[in-house]
């Protein structure tokens, strides 16, 4: 009967987990249009043990800084986050990311609006690790005015803000080349992209293999980077933004493993205790 109990529990747990997961999947949105086939990449961080690839995140940051940054901010990211454990520029030697020289250098490349404490006027100063990525536009109205009426969204949680966000972002960046079917009329400032809801997007294609415009530098480990193809850049920026949306992934999975092992042991011990206590009711031992 011991086996039966365990079997029943596994079945019950399985049904519960399966139906919840089923609901979660069923709630997912609609697929892309016009016969575009989504490329499902195997991401470094997927699975029970996966984690982000540091070199890919660093390259991804470069793509963000040199391409995406011209329109998109990272609202919820401070420069110091880049040097957090699990982040792209983490350095074991600088446990406090505010002291990390790479982070300091990156921060200093951005102009941050501050208040002059003497006369209260607005001044611009180089960023420090404690600053957040400064907004690109003063407000949504300006953002919309500059960008043909469409406000470029924040990217810091974008990978979480779409179903299968990593695949979505990767494919969105690559899908511009998909042939545009007949019958779709685009107004000025619109581009065809089958991955976008409604197939019309206000963002022009960004990643283009133009000679010399973009080349990967060696990463901080001194390793030679891969060639900056469109696919490579799309994958790398996705990796960086996936980290940005879920920076606690590594610590979460670590805690998960410990919790699961602990709960398994606890369950076994409690089950044995349960059996032992109920065994006292056996006639032979009464």
């Amino acid at each position: 009967m011991a086996f039966k109990t365990v079997r029943n529990l596994i079945i019950a747990g399985g049904i519960a987990a399966a139906s919840l997961t089923g609901i979660a999947i069923a709630a997912g949105g609609s697929g892309p249009a016009d016969g575009y086939k989504m490329i499902h990449k195997h991401w470094h961080w997927s699975g029970v043990t996966g984690s982000y690839d540091v070199a890919a995140m660093q390259r991804g940051y470069n793509v963000y800084a040199q391409v995406c940054r011209s329109c998109h901010n990272l609202d919820h990211l401070a420069f110091r986050h880049l040097g957090d454990k699990g982040g792209p520029f983490y350095d074991e030697y600088y446990k406090n990311p505010n002291d990390n020289p790479l982070v300091k250098n990156i921060a200093a490349e951005y102009e941050v609006i501050d208040v002059n404490p003497e006369d209260g006027s607005e001044v611009s100063r180089p960023g420090i690790p404690a600053d957040y990525f400064p907004p690109i536009y003063r407000n949504n109205a300006e953002a919309a005015y500059v960008n043909n009426g469409a406000v470029p969204p924040d990217l810091s949680v974008m990978v979480k803000a779409r179903n299968n966000g990593a695949d979505y972002m990767y494919n969105l960046l690559l899908a511009y080349s998909h042939p545009q079917p007949e019958g779709i009329t685009l107004s000025t400032g619109q581009y065809y992209n089958p991955v976008m809801e409604g197939s019309k997007i206000a963002m022009p294609p960004q990643l283009q293999p133009q000679e010399g415009v973009f080349e990967y530098q060696s990463d901080t480990e001194g390793q030679n980077p891969p060639e900056a193809t469109i696919e490579q850049m799309a994958a790398d920026v996705t990796e960086f933004l996936a980290w940005s949306a879920d920076p606690k992934l590594a610590v979460r999975k670590e805690a998960g493993l410990m919790s699961m092992v602990y709960l398994l042991i606890l369950s076994v011990l409690l089950w044995l205790s349960y059996k032992r206590i109920w065994r006292r009711l056996k006639p032979s031992e009464g």
């Binding site: 401070a78 602990y262 011990l269 009711l281 056996k282």
Partner: protein
């Protein structure tokens, strides 16, 4: 309905044996409970954004002699006082053995870029060491600071002289980044 064949709890003779399984289960449960308590308490600690906002720059050159600048640092006021020669003399001319919290005036200063102390600039956290009120400047029996909450008197070096406060006004960690600019924190 006969009561045969089933044993009731009252009929069990408890041999008092607490065997290994119960101990192990209890220990595992206690371990789990203990490891849950830590995050529940630690969440109230300083968050990463709070920790990051550590330091400020202050231009002390703009403070006239006999004037005091009050700046907010880590949620509390920092006093930067440009002391007069009389105040410095008064601060140095004290027998430190009679002080409740003995400290020389020099020990409460920080060297400038040239390695020499700048006794005219006194930098302190403006929080009374008694119960945290902000003392009033140029007041009290020792011409320094006076805390109106419970009557603590500080001298021109910010040392406690009279009243309930146990310690001198705290000197925050700071350094001169140039001849006239200090970085607090």
């Amino acid at each position: 309905m006969a009561e045969t064949g089933l044993i009731h709890h009252d009929d069990i003779v408890d041999d008092g044996k607490r065997d290994f399984i119960f101990l192990a289960a209890g220990a595992a449960g206690a371990l789990g409970a203990a490891s849950i308590v830590w995050p529940l308490l630690a969440q109230m600690g300083k968050a990463a954004d709070t920790l990051a906002l550590g330091s400020i720059d202050i231009d002390v050159g703009k403070i006239g002699e006999g004037e005091q600048l009050k700046v907010l640092w880590r949620g509390a006021p920092v006093f930067v006082r440009h002391r007069t020669a009389a105040e410095i003399a008064e601060a140095e001319d004290v027998n430190i053995d009679i002080l409740p919290d003995p400290a020389t005036d020099d020990s409460r200063l920080v060297p400038g870029p040239d390695g020499n102390l700048k006794p005219q600039y006194l930098v302190m956290v403006g929080v009374c060491t008694h119960f945290g009120c902000v003392p009033v400047g140029e007041a009290g029996d020792y011409d320094g600071w006076y805390c109106p909450c419970h009557g603590s008197h500080y001298d021109t070096s910010g040392r406690i002289r009279k009243g309930p406060a146990p310690r001198n006004l705290v000197v925050p960690p700071y350094a001169y980044t140039s001849d006239t600019v200090i970085k607090v924190g």
